[in-house]
Amino acid sequence: MSDDILSIIEKVCTRVAAGDFENRVPKLGDDPQAEATRQAINRVLDVTDAFVRESGAALTAAADGRFHRQFLPRGMRGAYAHSAVTINRAADAMRVKVEEIEHAKAARFDLAGELESAVQSVSEQLATAATEMGATANGLSQFARDAVADAERGLGSVGALRDSSDQIRKAVSLITQIASQTRLLALNATIEAARAGEAGRGFSVVANEVKTLATETASSSESITNQVSTVQDSAKGAIRVLESVTESIRQMSELVDGIASAVDGNREPGQPGLSQLAEVLRAEVTRFVAKVRAD
């Protein structure tokens, strides 16, 4: 082979070695050995060119998730074919990994959806319960206020009863005094009637009757006084009981107010009630789920 031909081959090989695959050995004259050499070199370049294009494109496709685009081993032989199969195997492994990731992603989406609907359901039930509890607490508060008012009215009534008893006692004391004086008068009348002899006999009978009446009156008054004392003792007991009941209801009312405030949360800023907490929970979970879905 002439030096010219070798020089041409050398130039082509040097350019291709530098990565410029657009070069091929041109026609080198009529010498059959030169032509055979040229074809052999060009076949090397063709298959290497094809391999470089194919491997790059196949891996790019795999990286893009276009796994159907493989490296077709047909047309490749020996190490070229072997490497093509290796590249396809790597792409297939990538495909499996991607499918696993997609599967995990789908599972995560399902979980997020389940969490979302569970929280939705819980927060709705919580809101409903909070509304009912709030209404019940308000009803109880009103009931406690009414009960305290009733008890106070009861205290007033019992107080009035005690006052009336005092007045009765005074009246009875006056009656006892009058009965005592009447008895004295009746005694004097009896003495005067005896002194009048036969003429005073009839009057003596009347005086005796008056004395008996006065004695009975005094006895009845004592009995009334005893009963009034009993009523007064009872009234005192009733007042103690009513005061105790009122105090209990007041304490209950405070507890109920505590419940109402926990439910409504409108007592102090920064202390949300159950309804607001449920809403916060729902909003947080919605945000979380949206983030999971966006990833």
């Binding site: 091929r24 060009n42 076949r43 094809a50 077709l72 047309g75 490749m76």
Partner: protein, 175 residues
């Protein structure tokens, strides 16, 4: 030179599994390199093809819609796999699975195109033949637009891109 218009003879020839047909063209589709397998299949001499437009091996059975897809895809700097029937200088036909890619210089600029063709499998060729015949018929009766639309509709009906269609046939036939 041969007769200006070569007529298809109905003869079909093929090549070996381990062979690849290689051509390179410039940006205008002018052939700048053709390998020995190309010359054998196309029955052209090297001096007959270098400097000639690549469509000297265009077979009349090839729908223009497929070439439009090919050039559109290459124009976007993408590779394309396509089933193509070519016509040799002696009127014989040969089917190939062409892989056409843009060739770039060191700065990434497209400076030409490179085509490596492999021997296709018969079932794939038969399936492609049926589609191409319908596209050709549409082109005869109407125009390229109608044929292009038919191709789009056909692919949409399969739920595939042309690339997916080709790979489906290729892997389905070889596996």
């Amino acid at each position: 030179m041969r007769a200006a218009r070569i007529q298809p003879t109905g003869v079909e020839r093929s090549f070996e599994d381990h062979e690849i047909i290689v051509t390179k063209t410039d940006l205008k589709g002018i052939i700048t390199y053709a390998n020995d397998v190309f010359l054998r299949l196309s029955a052209f001499g090297e001096e007959e093809v270098i400097g000639k437009p690549h469509n000297i091996i265009r077979h009349p059975d090839m729908p223009r819609a497929v070439f439009k897809l090919l050039w559109d895809t290459l124009g976007q700097g993408e590779e394309i796999f396509a089933y193509v029937v070519n016509m040799a200088g002696d009127g014989a036909a040969y089917w190939v699975l062409a892989h056409v890619t843009p060739s770039r210089d060191a700065s990434g600029r497209v400076i030409g195109y490179h085509s490596s063709r492999r021997r296709p499998d018969r079932p794939a060729v038969d399936a492609v033949k049926r589609l191409y015949a319908r596209l050709r018929e549409e082109e005869r009766r109407n125009d390229l637009n109608a044929s292009w639309q038919l191709l789009q509709d056909e692919l949409a009906g399969r739920g595939q891109t042309y690339e997916e269609f080709v790979w489906d046939l290729t892997l389905g036939a070889t596996r």
